[in-house]
């Protein structure tokens, strides 16, 4: 087969390269206009009965996690990491707050029992908080610094690396 003929199948190479390039891009990188803005304030009626508001946490860095018991497997994957991060950094002032959205209370309590959650969690009736934060799906996590600004938004299950890096970042800021 002459080299001219070989050009026929080789014509498809650029297309293959373009498509392969697609693997290095992230279609889920949905830019959030909230990043670097002040975090919307919210009030949460916690499952243990206490109220909690963002104003009340002023001066503390916050990891705000949106989850649901039906969100399988992503929420199940990151749940132990959330609890572990809370236990590790609570003494340095870090707050971890869970917002449970569109859930049944019994299932949610079962979920929290399963992962032995000890950080504050509460439901989001009417999805008010999720709407304010522009939550696209569960899980999503917002890292809020001591000034109450959103520093970073993560879509999907958290990985230990991302968690560690972002928590350190909001702990550092003064």
């Amino acid at each position: 087969m002459s080299w001219k003929k070989a050009l026929i199948p080789l014509a498809s190479v650029p297309l293959i390269i373009l498509l392969a390039y697609g693997f290095w891009t992230d279609p889920r990188a949905i830019p959030s206009p909230l990043v670097r803005q002040a975090a919307p304030s919210f009030r949460l009626a916690l499952y243990d009965g206490d109220p909690l508001s963002l104003e009340g946490l002023k001066g503390k860095p916050v990891v705000l996690n949106f989850w649901a018991s039906w969100c399988y497997p992503a929420c199940y994957e990151e749940a132990p990491l959330l609890e572990a991060t809370w236990r590790k950094y609570r003494d340095q002032g870090l707050m971890v707050v869970g917002v449970d959205i569109q859930d049944k209370e019994a299932n949610a309590r079962e979920f929290m029992r399963r992962f032995d959650f000890s950080f504050p969690n509460g439901p989001d009736p009417g999805s008010k908080i999720s709407i304010d934060y522009g939550v696209y799906g569960v899980p999503e996590t917002f890292f809020i610094d001591r000034q109450g600004r959103i520093k970073y938004k993560h879509v999907g299950a958290l990985t230990p690396a991302v968690m560690e890096e972002q928590v350190r970042a909001i702990l550092r800021e003064t």
Binding site: M1, K5, A6, L7, I8, P9, A11, S12, L15, I16, L18, L19, A20, Y21, G22, F23, T25, P27, R28, A68, W70, C71, Y72, P73, Y76, I101, Q102, D103, K104, E110, S127, S130, V135, G137, V138
Partner: protein, 667 residues
């Protein structure tokens, strides 16, 4: 248990399919009939194994065995059994299994149809091609099996076992979910048969017209399923998605439309090769493109490189699809290059005024539309690669390009079937096109007189009148001639005509269906009107001849969700027409409510209502009303297309038998 058994079955199927491919090639090379027979048995065994795997997964789905990750992700205990069954094609792993099952079914059908080397009635050459056809089909199967074994295992386990599964997306829990995906998959998989024959023709060095003759019916049936799937999908999204439209140029929709375009081009251009022995390379290219576009579409939607509402799944699956895509492209076009000396055409175009050139133009337009859609679909990727930012092109781009090309296609659809082969004489042109042309001009003039001023609509209608004119004219002239010559009644002559040249007249009926659908698309998109208003109980919203009165809100619990609906009384010209109850469905597992559309469907126009929002205390509701004129013509056109294809492909003997029976009843 099921996990182990299922995984084992798939591995076994992979072994058997590789054996079948190898045995058929070796058998053909060495002329060993026993090896060929063994490979045919292996093809059937492969089909049985994949069928078993389907049964295992369905069993797990129906019995809610959440120890399988796939079952936990795609069904819940509360689902109705039929939606548990439909969970099979609810997401990636299961749909690959379904695809592979249909693929193995096709291979088994090819064996059954041509067992014993083709039988007496199979076209010549079938015997030589078959072993390689099987090798290609088994190769495709092997890809899907490898995909399941190493990237998308439908039998993967999870631990801990969740108490209940996530279930299908509520939008998929409708009867349509049982039909639309199956039609599409049958269409996708169906095109692998003509593709396999084309590759076999190249491998064996017989790239003549025989593979076209053998696969004609396979191709048309695959085309029918794909067309049916696309139409059904549009109908489904129109009735349930609650935005009043049926097509959004979403990547997943485009993925089904692109192979449809090249497949349609292929069905037409094979006629030129059969008659003039031209365009060999072109036809091989078209069928290869059609098959690769099927794989490409699946790659796009399953790899997650483009953001689409439907897209999901990361991991190795995308890479594996891309590797397979590259393999298919290199293999197919490599073979074309290798055999290029044998692929020189024999004939050439005699005249620009001929059916050949009309068909060629039709091909160019179809492939042109396909390229446009392709470019639009991958544009976000292209722009990110070149300029570093992600830009999507939307509906305006697709409409702007495809509407004029569609008009050109419409014109060619009128000309193609009636213009003479070879060289059309002035007489031929005058005889066939004068009256339809007049009909077009008069029709458009009439519409203008009635107040239609949009150029696009006038042109579209004129062209549609032209095409309908040519079809009616052709049927009328042929029937009258036959009735006169044979002394038959008009009805009998018409019936015999359909039977005698089913391919031609079936094709014309398909064209008629396409024109009806295009009329529906044109009118409904130009003359659609809508209005949205917040109403208190007793308030009315008026739109054209229609108005709806909001009577009040109601709510009720359904097995899987809570439904809130508005009671509306619709009026036309002030007279009560119908009660409509649009609503919103709230699912415990979903964040946002889903629309529950209500509509009064009618052949002339649909009255379509959506409950956009409401106050919880029932004091008001926001209602959107859409009047969609002639939109049902799209679905009617789909039905006519189905009828035409059936006329074209039903076996000769079956029809002859029906005709005999009908005659006997008359007598």
């Amino acid at each position: 248990m099921i996990s182990t058994l299922g995984g084992f079955t798939l591995f076994l199927a992979l072994g058997v399919t590789l054996y079948a491919a190898a045995a058929s090639v070796l058998g053909a090379r060495q002329g060993r009939e026993d090896w060929l027979a063994s490979s045919r048995n292996a093809v059937l065994a492969h089909f049985c194994l994949v069928t078993l795997a389907i049964f295992l997964l369905e069993y797990a789905l129906v019995t809610s065995d959440f120890s399988l990750r796939y079952v936990a992700n795609n069904s819940t205990r509360a689902s109705l059994t039929r939606y548990k069954i439909a969970g099979l094609w609810g997401s990636l792993e299961g749909s690959i299994l379904l695809w592979e099952w249909l693929q193995s079914l096709m291979a088994a059908l090819v064996v059954a149809r041509y067992s014993g080397g083709g039988g007496s009635e199979a076209p010549s050459g079938t015997r030589q091609l078959l072993p390689y056809v099987q090798a290609v089909l088994q190769g495709i199967s092997a890809f899907f099996l490898i995909l399941m074994a190493f990237g998308a295992n439908p039998f993967a386990r999870i631990f801990p076992v969740p108490p209940d599964g996530r279930g299908l997306n509520p939008l998929l829990e409708v009867t349509d979910m049982l039909i639309h995906p199956l039609l599409l998959y049958l269409g996708y998989v169906g095109f692998s048969v003509p593709y396999a024959f084309a590759m076999a023709a190249l491998v064996t060095g017989r790239p003549t017209e025989e593979w076209l003759r053998i696969t004609r019916r396979w191709t048309v049936v695959a085309w029918l399923f794909l067309t049916g799937g696309i139409f059904y999908g549009g109908w489904w999204s129109y009735r349930t998605l609650g935005w009043g439209g049926y097509w959004a140029w979403d990547p997943v929709e485009n993925a089904s439309f692109m192979p449809w375009l090249t497949g349609t081009a292929f069905i037409h251009s094979v006629m030129i090769q059969e008659r003039k022995r031209m365009l060999k390379v072109w036809n091989l290219t078209l069928i290869t493109l059609t098959f690769t576009l099927v794989i490409f579409g699946t790659f796009l939607t399953r790899s997650g490189i483009l953001g689409s509402v439907h897209a999901f799944a990361d991991g190795p699956v995308g890479m594996m699809f891309l590797a397979f895509l590259a393999l298919v492209l290199f293999f197919s076009f490599g073979l074309v290059a290798y055999r290029s000396d044998q692929l020189k055409g024999h004939g050439e175009l005699d005249s620009i005024l001929s059916r050949e050139s009309a068909f060629l133009l039709n091909n160019l337009v179809l492939v042109g539309i396909c390229f446009t859609v392709f470019l639009g679909t991958i544009f976000p990727l292209l722009s990110e690669a070149v300029r570093g930012n992600k830009i999507s092109v939307g509906t305006p781009y697709f409409n702007k390009v495809s509407v004029p090309l569609g008009m050109a296609l419409l014109l060619l659809m009128g000309i193609g079937p009636l213009i003479a082969w070879g060289r059309a004489s002035l007489n031929n042109l005058k005889r066939n096109f004068l009256k339809p042309g007049l009909a077009a001009v008069l029709g458009a003039a009439l519409l203008y007189a009635l107040g239609v001023r949009q150029v696009q609509v006038l042109v579209a209608f004129g062209l549609c009148f032209f095409v309908i004119g040519t079809i009616v004219f052709e049927f009328w002239v042929a029937t009258r001639t036959r009735a006169r010559m044979m002394g038959e009644s008009v009805l009998a002559a018409f019936g015999t005509l359909l039977l005698k040249s089913r391919r031609r007249y079936g094709g014309l009926i398909v064209h008629l269906g396409v024109v009806i659908a295009i009329l529906g698309i044109a009118v409904s998109s130009v003359y659609k009107v809508e209005r949205e208003q917040t109403l208190k109980p007793g308030d009315r919203l008026s739109l054209g001849r229609y108005s709806v009165r909001f009577e009040g809100l109601a709510a009720g619990e359904r097995p899987t969700h809570i439904l809130v609906w508005a009671n509306l009384q619709a009026f036309r010209d002030g007279r009560p027409l119908h009660e409509l109850m649009p609503g919103q469905r709230f699912y415990p597992n979903q964040q946002s409510p889903f629309a529950s559309v209500d509509a009064r469907y009618h052949w002339s126009e649909d009255l379509y209502v959506i409950l956009s929002a409401f106050e919880r205390d029932g004091s008001s509701a926001t209602i959107k009303v859409i009047v969609n004129p002639m939109i049902s013509w799209i679905w009617i056109g789909g039905g006519v297309i189905l009828l035409g294809v059936l006329v074209a492909v039903l076996p000769e003997r079956r029809l002859a038998l029906l005709a005999l029976r009908a005659k006997a009843q008359v007598a």
